[in-house]
């Protein structure tokens, strides 16, 4: 079979090189027909060229082309991947800088909090427009969203269209990597049960070691690792992009450093018995007590703040990464950690390992409302993708996940209707934005909408 894969936003320096490399490394995708579409057609052509070069270097039949007409790009596709950012860094600057004027400093600002809400307001109509086009031109395709805010955008498609949709995020792969470093267990032998929303997925059960192995209670081992930090080197040094802070002397990162850089999630684990799975810089946006101005917005917890400069540096790195991929021989065989290729492989071949996925809640997370998009472990096969487990997020952590999903639902509604009052309602319900004085929540919402009005046609009065 030769699947047809359309990437909307296919000119992305971040996504396309990664996705194309992963496709090359996935046997079932080496014959794929990949179609790149982008508002900036030149960028799509640039990435198509890279894809063709990859196929040539690997001598595989994968075909890659840039298609300027969106309908033509979508038609007959089996999979549609969306990777986009409305306004890019130019709009995101406001998501960070406007709230900062009000005293809210967001480490990332792309999922919840004022920045995440503003990003959703401009992205929801765009993802809906794409999904409508998929409904028309490729109605049986699986729509795979990798764009942020992932929960809100995936929810929009599920709520407003008949398109089958899944959101994919690599944060839990990051957790697998961190636990693999801590326990010296291969990543694929780390399995968990998860419930939550994107960037706040909560591990409710943890298994280490091969299936049926002795360490079915990974939480017990994690507890003892926290009580008695293990010595010994890390099997791999953390890539610089992870922005770890070093707390020990010496040149190399140790397991002590590892634990220090997981401080927030481990604190929550010790206290509440479940493990939030995303990186701490995401988690704290859901639990604003960790990013309080009084304590330097989380510096004591080693929370890394990207800031617009950090995001800009990341995007420059993406361009460099592209150039390196273009100018070196061969194609990296290192998996990127992204999940798109793995999910496609499972669906095409009919089997594959369990993966973290974002799907509408049909009961897999019992403590979150029905229909909202939840992050959970899923499996793919020829009939599609579905949740594997049913779980409840207990206590406080479950309550905070619930609060986030309530605000997200209001955000989607506000974005679809272009309703300022609903946007204010979403901010009031958001734990981070809702901490401001009442009048300031309203001013902040208005200021964000006004600052980004170029990308918010639905809010024009």
């Amino acid at each position: 079979m030769s699947p047809r894969i359309a990437i909307i936003g296919g000119g992305s320096y971040h996504w396309s090189p990664r996705l194309l490399a992963d496709f090359c490394n996935t046997a079932s995708l080496t014959e794929a027909q990949v179609v790149l579409h982008d508002l900036d057609h030149t960028s799509a052509e640039r990435m198509a060229e890279l894809g063709r070069e990859f196929a040539h270097r690997r001598a595989i039949p994968m075909r890659v082309e840039a298609v300027e007409d969106r309908a033509a790009a979508l038609t007959a596709s089996d999979f549609v991947i969306t990777a986009f950012s409305v306004g890019g860094l130019e709009s995101m600057r406001y998501d960070l800088e406007v709230p900062e004027r009000f005293g809210i400093r967001q480490p990332i600002g792309d999922s919840v909090g004022p920045g995440g809400i503003a990003r959703a307001l401009r992205s929801v109509p765009v993802v809906l427009d794409m999904a409508r086009a998929v409904e028309r031109h490729a109605p049986s395709a699986l729509f795979i969203n990798v764009s942020n805010p992932l929960s809100a955008l995936t929810r929009t498609v599920a709520r407003e269209t008949d398109v089958a949709v899944v959101g994919l995020c690599n944060e839990l792969v990051g957790l697998q990597f961190q636990l693999s470093l801590l326990f010296d267990v291969p990543m694929h032998e780390i399995d968990f049960v998860v419930g939550g929303v994107n960037h706040f997925p909560v591990v409710t059960e943890l298994r280490l070691g091969a299936a049926g192995g002795v360490d079915s209670d990974g939480f017990a081992r994690l507890r003892s690792a926290i009580d008695t930090p293990p010595s010994g080197p890390l099997w791999m040094q953390p890539p610089p992009g992870m922005h770890w802070r070093k707390v020990t002397d010496g040149d190399t990162f140790t397991k002590i450093d590892l634990l220090a850089n997981l401080a927030v999630k481990l604190e929550l684990f010790c206290r509440f018995g479940v493990l939030p799975g995303a990186n701490d810089h995401h988690i704290v946006e859901f639990l604003p007590g960790f990013v309080h101005g009084d304590t330097g917005h989380g510096t004591g917890w080693h929370v890394h703040h990207w800031g617009i400069d950090g995001h800009t540096a990341d995007s420059i790195d993406d361009v460099r990464g592209y150039e390196a991929a273009r100018d070196t021989d061969g194609v990296t065989s290192m998996p990127t950690g992204e999940l798109v290729a793995a999910l496609l492989d499972a669906i095409i071949t009919g089997s594959g390992p369990p993966l973290p996925v974002n799907l509408p809640n049909t009961g897999q997370v019992t403590t979150l409302p029905p229909d909202v998009v939840v992050e959970c472990i899923g499996t793919g096969d020829t009939s599609g993708v579905r949740a594997r487990d049913t779980t409840a997020i207990p206590g406080i952590i479950g309550e905070y996940a619930r609060r986030a999903s309530v605000s997200q639902e209001l955000t989607v509604e506000a974005a679809l209707r272009g309703d300022r009052d609903l946007a204010i309602a979403a901010m009031l319900a958001d734990p981070l934005a809702g901490r401001l004085p009442y009048e300031r929540v309203i001013e902040l919402t208005e200021a964000l909408i006004d600052a980004t009005s170029a990308w918010l046609p639905q809010f024009r009065r």
Binding site: D294, T295, I396, E399, E409, L410, A425, R435, L436, P437
Partner: protein
């Protein structure tokens, strides 16, 4: 048959006198037997004398006895009115002062927020002990709880014992009174639906003799010509009786309710408690930037003010004891009317706090909610099903989740669960995570003598 009504904490100068007057003015209760119980023997003789003074002036058979023995006081009771305060102002001082040092100022401090949580921890074991005694000596009596924090206390009794417990609070009645003044209608012409928790009840429907009262209110608050119209506010129940009366206008009354009207403007339902209570549920109104609520017309109730109130209640009681004529104005409290409705099987609707069986669909089943409740001989049950707008529903759920943890912590004595309650509470959780842990420990330590279960 005349009921036996036991007052636990019956030495309360704030509550007992006005409830006794209401009872004396309720025909079916003229021959009631009153038991004044208090752990403090000092005010008991005066309260018992007061009951007999009232009976004599009214020419009715009302009579009273006094005791400091809880179990014997409860013996044979039909109704148990609870108006206690564990540690009184001495303990409450810490509820206010410790959070203050952490940058959390509370306008009341008796419901939610750090103060409400600690007050719950102190009072819950006392309430549960009362209900346990009731299980033994008067298992069919109703516990009528007037004590704060009303929601968690009533919930604890319901969770831990088999006693029927109902929470009674005058805030909705006061709002009804305010609405009658603003809209120029008879209070009795008002019917409303309420959904929420105590001190955050939301009026979702307001009917004034067939008119949509919320629509009328919306029109009034935007009508600049109406603002100068005068109002005469007689002294009413609760703290308002203590504050200056003076000449009010529509405008000044609206000014005194800015928080609830702002929330009404934004969400279309009307919070029906005093603004000083509301801001503790919506801490965005209670920030340093807004002068701790001053910008919204909210004053922080200081410990000095509370002491002044107490002195006022004592003076007022002294006046009543020696008065040869007693007021006949209903106090606005619901104890006497509720008992009368049950006794005579005369159905009436009251805003009461009972377990949720669907009347507040946005809150969990079994949580104690404030809603319109029908009381008659067959009991007390919710009358309406009242959903609320999503943001307000979520604020309710947040406090409700915290309140459930307060009950759990108070019953188990688990310090970690206290922290969880704080972390879920919108007001307490505004501060830094580590600071919140320190504040929790400090509050528990400061009030340890009233918290035996945490020893």
């Amino acid at each position: 048959m005349a009921p036996r009504i036991c007052f636990i904490g019956g030495g309360s100068y704030q509550w007992t006198p006005k409830l006794i007057l209401d009872i004396a003015d309720t025909r079916s209760l003229h021959d009631a037997e009153i038991v004044i119980e208090d752990i403090d023997p000092e005010p008991i003789p005066a309260m018992v004398d007061f009951v007999h003074h009232v009976a004599k002036l009214r020419g009715i058979g009302l009579r009273a006895t006094g005791t400091t023995e809880q179990r014997s006081a409860l013996e044979g009771a039909d109704y148990v009115v609870v108006c206690i305060s564990t540690g009184a102002l001495e303990s409450m001082q810490h509820d206010i002062e410790v959070p203050d040092r952490y940058g959390l100022r509370q306008s009341v401090g008796d419901t939610v927020g750090p103060g409400g949580i600690l007050r719950g921890l102190r009072n819950i074991p006392v309430l549960v002990a009362i209900a346990r005694d009731m299980e033994i000596v008067c298992p069919d009596a109703w516990l009528l709880n007037l004590t704060n924090p009303m929601t968690t206390l009533t919930r604890a009794v319901q969770k831990a014992t088999s006693i029927t417990a109902i929470g009674l609070c005058h805030e909705v009645t006061i709002t009804q009174y305010t609405l009658a003044m603003l809209l120029g209608c008879d209070m009795r012409a008002i019917d409303l639906s309420v959904a929420g928790v105590n001190h955050l009840p939301l009026i979702t429907r307001l009917d004034i003799a067939g008119d949509d009262g919320l629509e009328r209110l919306a029109a009034l608050i935007d009508d600049e010509d109406a603002l100068a119209a005068p109002l005469v506010i007689p002294g009413i129940t609760g703290h308002e009786a203590v504050s200056d009366g003076g000449a009010f206008t529509v405008g000044s009354l609206l000014e005194a309710n800015r928080v609830k009207l702002e929330l009404f403007r934004r969400f279309g339902v009307l919070p029906a408690a005093g603004d000083r209570h509301l801001v503790e549920f919506f801490p965005g109104f209670l920030t340093e930037e807004s002068g701790w609520g001053a910008r919204w017309g909210v004053e922080l109730t200081s410990m000095d003010t509370r002491r002044a109130w107490l002195a006022h209640y004592m003076r007022e009681f002294d006046g009543l004891r020696s008065a040869s004529e007693l007021p006949r104005t209903p106090s606005g409290e619901m104890v006497a009317a509720l008992i009368d409705s049950r006794l005579r099987d005369r159905p009436r609707h009251f805003p009461l706090n009972i377990a949720n069986h669907g009347q507040v669909p946005d809150l969990p089943e079994g949580a104690i909610v404030e809603s319109m409740v029908c009381v008659d001989a067959s009991g007390a049950r919710g009358r309406d099903v009242a959903p609320v707008p999503v943001v307000l529903a979520d604020y309710l759920r947040r406090v409700s989740a915290s309140q459930e943890k307060v009950v759990e912590a108070a019953l188990t004595g688990e310090r970690d669960v206290v922290f969880e309650a704080m972390l879920l509470d919108p007001l307490a959780s505004r501060i830094d995570y580590d600071e919140l842990g320190r504040m929790t420990d400090e509050m528990l330590a400061a009030t340890a003598r009233w918290l035996p279960q945490f020893a």
